[in-house]
Symmetry: C2
Subunit: 350 residues, 2 copies
Amino acid sequence: MVAVDTSLSERKLIILKAIIQNYLETGEPVGSRTLSKYTELNLSSATIRNEMADLEDLGYIFQPHTSAGRIPSDKGYRLYVDILMEEKEQEITEREDAMLEKADKVEKVLQQAARVLASNTNYATMVSAPVNSRNTLKFIQLSQVDQEQIVAVIVLGGNVIKNKIIEVGETLSNETLLKLNMLLNTTLNGMSIDQITLGLIARLKEQAGIHSEVIGHVLDAVAEIIHVEDDMKIYTSGTTNIFKYPELSDKQSAQEIISAFEEKQQLEDLVTETLASENDHAIQVYIGDESPVKNMKDCSVVTATYELGEGMKGTIGIIGPKRMDYEHVMRTLKTLQNELDAIYNKNPKE
Amino acid sequence: MVAVDTSLSERKLIILKAIIQNYLETGEPVGSRTLSKYTELNLSSATIRNEMADLEDLGYIFQPHTSAGRIPSDKGYRLYVDILMEEKEQEITEREDAMLEKADKVEKVLQQAARVLASNTNYATMVSAPVNSRNTLKFIQLSQVDQEQIVAVIVLGGNVIKNKIIEVGETLSNETLLKLNMLLNTTLNGMSIDQITLGLIARLKEQAGIHSEVIGHVLDAVAEIIHVEDDMKIYTSGTTNIFKYPELSDKQSAQEIISAFEEKQQLEDLVTETLASENDHAIQVYIGDESPVKNMKDCSVVTATYELGEGMKGTIGIIGPKRMDYEHVMRTLKTLQNELDAIYNKNPKE
DNA sequence: ATTAGCACTCCCTTGTTTTGAGTGCTAACA
DNA sequence: TGTTAGCACTCAAAACAAGGGAGTGCTAAT
């Protein structure tokens, strides 16, 4: 995929790059005359025209209609992102003061991240909260609320807290509760959520087996709390930025994109896809049809994975028109990714 | 406000009503010829024209431009909603099978409510989660997670659970913790959140005064957990329905409305306003400028308050074009309001 | 009081023309 | 052989013109 098409001469590459960059700036189809001035190689428009005809044959650019200039195809953008674009890598680590302010709750930070990203790029953005299947259990406790209710509290790494009310038919004695708590803590402490299997729970039941009925019920509830995947939280911002780009502003497109942002389902798919992809910390670019979200077939989607610690991974992403400022977007995304990665270590919990 | 303008003859009212109903259906300015057929009173278009001229002078209708038909003004809609509209009250209680399915989590129910409402009406909808300032405390407990962390768990009426990790400098003895828990439970149990004032906390501090420093810190934290208003959760659905109405579909309007739905702040204001209004269980209609949310000055907003029990009130609302089907909307809203009101009693916690 | 009739207004649609940016091709050129 | 000037051609978009039609206000007749 990244292999350069050998049929492309140096000059064609320069011209293609010029076409794309010009189009990114203006959003207008770019013609041969414009290019003959724009490029450093001094060629007449006629020559450029010949080259452009070739580039069109090869599928990198096309005309929206006869007698119009050319615009990049998806294939063209792909080549640009993979090869042509100059990444200003060196700057990334040094420059850029923090985008995020501290905040004590993770949710706040993530919502803020989405906002910052949107205002920095003028595109629509999303940030998914980390899912924590590889997280470990730090503490577990059952307490009697009243005659018929027990509250179970579970603290995971990163100070994620889960809890639930468990309804019990009969009152449990203090003693039983104490034993149960002991048992749970000694057995489960330090284990990752993945490790706490149904088999393990079954063995616990046996060990605790005295009033098997109630206790069995309680343990089942505990297992459920631990395993129930909190449905993925996704924060969005700047959805209306898409109105800044005419190619996405018609009713049809706007409606599709915005509803994908409201009904979060599609974004969840996007996150899943991103997290599943092999090379983790890289920035991923989906151009047009490449996007896993069908509603975004006319957009480009750029995503990155961050890690709050201990396998708690989340995704940050930007959705905009295909003619998006890839350089800037990828740089900003990388910066934010770093900040989020860092946040857990430097500021474990305020 | 509800007083009928005495200058309006019976006939004018009929005509006005006809104009509005016709406009609600078609969305087109309605002219005198159309009306002379549409209305039961057999009048020629000329007569109707005279009446319409009067109605325009009185500010109930206006022309978008000379030589166009008339459309209702905000004042016209107001009159319609207050007086002209026929509410089919009787049906409400009997008919209508349940819109909501049971679900164990409140959030799910509310999200579903928003969805149902949107698909039933073809407008944009919002449902706010109840705020619980008048809720009472059922149970409170502090537990040691590790050397430096305590987790505080608080259970409120309706099984709302709040919790937080508290960082402590030094380890607290089991004994101290036990005493603290006793103290907290005996003092605070059954109190409403409003009642737990800073003064009360100060008195508690004195009573517990032994290791004043750490304990003071912990008690402050507890007070904070109790009082920190969970930021209002608002569920939305069908935002993109606004694209079905041309008068709201231009970039400008669409952008304003949609961003109000994304950045929830304005919706929160709307909820606050609704909840603050005196007559609680009534349906409220805001037409155009009447809306507390400035971004919705070209819309109509219809809201209702539901009560999950014990002063836990939330708001459901519909946002659409001024020419909205008020009857249907208000009826649907009322039905849903009843269902939500009932849900807590019939199905306290599944 | 109502209505028929008429002149007038103004938006909207439709068709026509003009403009201009851009292309492809051919022939001349270095 | 690669490059360029020149020219005819295309097509979208803008500008313009004309007609139709829905609607109004006013006047005069019923």
